[in-house]
Symmetry: C2
Subunit: 227 residues, 2 copies
Amino acid sequence: VHRTKVRVVEGVLDANDTIAAANRADFDREGVTVVNLMSAPGAGKTALLERVLGTLDGVRAAVLEGDVQGSLDADRLASLHVPVTQLNTDPGFGGECHLDANMVRSALGDVPLAETDLLVIENVGNLVCPAEFKVGEDARVMVSSVTEGEDKPLKYPLMFRTCDLVLVNKIDLLEHLDYDLDLFLHHLDAVHPGVPRMLVSARTGEGVAQWRDWLLERVAEGAGAPA
Amino acid sequence: VHRTKVRVVEGVLDANDTIAAANRADFDREGVTVVNLMSAPGAGKTALLERVLGTLDGVRAAVLEGDVQGSLDADRLASLHVPVTQLNTDPGFGGECHLDANMVRSALGDVPLAETDLLVIENVGNLVCPAEFKVGEDARVMVSSVTEGEDKPLKYPLMFRTCDLVLVNKIDLLEHLDYDLDLFLHHLDAVHPGVPRMLVSARTGEGVAQWRDWLLERVAEGAGAPA
């Protein structure tokens, strides 16, 4: 049973990779840099996007917003005058806990790719399955809130191992928590040695300029690369 | 495709229900009350268990600890001299994001059911899939941390709708957050009108006695019911 199950999962992931490559080809043709933004529920993905979307200096951004149900986050971001496409994963039961390449592909017709330099795909809040499914992104950014505890890299290793940047959010709360930041970073380096990390607070704005610059650099890299 | 997918999922959930009923029959025969404890990553499930497990006045508790990888939480709880069984959901790829009835069944041989009055199954940290899979529990308890924001009932409705008790944790941080507790409770009642809820802090111990009493009442109810 164990071996069969692994094979089924490998088949699903293989099909997903094929569709992710097709998404990737579309993004390259249109010159779009794509960031897959992931975290646990309530870590601050949307708040960190709200902080930077209006400050991208001529870079045309769009957002693909993944949620089980509703459009609360899309509504928040739409007020920033950025094109936002909502993608709901709920087909009647509990809903899918992640975006996959095919779901993203099904929504691309609604995303103005030709007028977009940076597409941020905000994934469903979950530290497990979103990490298993490529969607055609250039980079993966994950948000880890200091309120979640220091042990998360050890408990959700794939997520922390496959991301290109870790935003350690809510650092304004550090003084009120029994949270050992050095211990968290030690666990992070055990799972993904040297992965870039930034200490940020969506609430106070601390570290947000650095996160914006990182996005601008990714877009500049993408524009310079052959399509 | 959509319809086919729903049918596949219904088939999986139907098989899961069959195994959950078998678990349920075993628990009834042994007189074990079973609580399925769920939350987002880092909301405080383990910390709230640490607070009550040593204070259950003669009720014999055991824990089945679900994690993608590792045994950090099981190790924490084992120091309380409670039988803890670790169940890892990682078969080599990213890991399963929830426990299902069959995973729980596969671990029951290691749980001392005959010497247990209360079995707490600590699920994988995730607000989506754990709510879809019954494991044979008597009651579902979910932990929602105030650091996660007020919108979570609207974004993860199945989880909030199918639970029997909501522990609103980390209330010691309320004064440091832009969190509107009344708004959260309003959203909670919109999704699951009148569901019992308790304001707690695993850190300060506030509300923990109420949570312990709730557990003791569930065990007393179970003991009085026909096996």
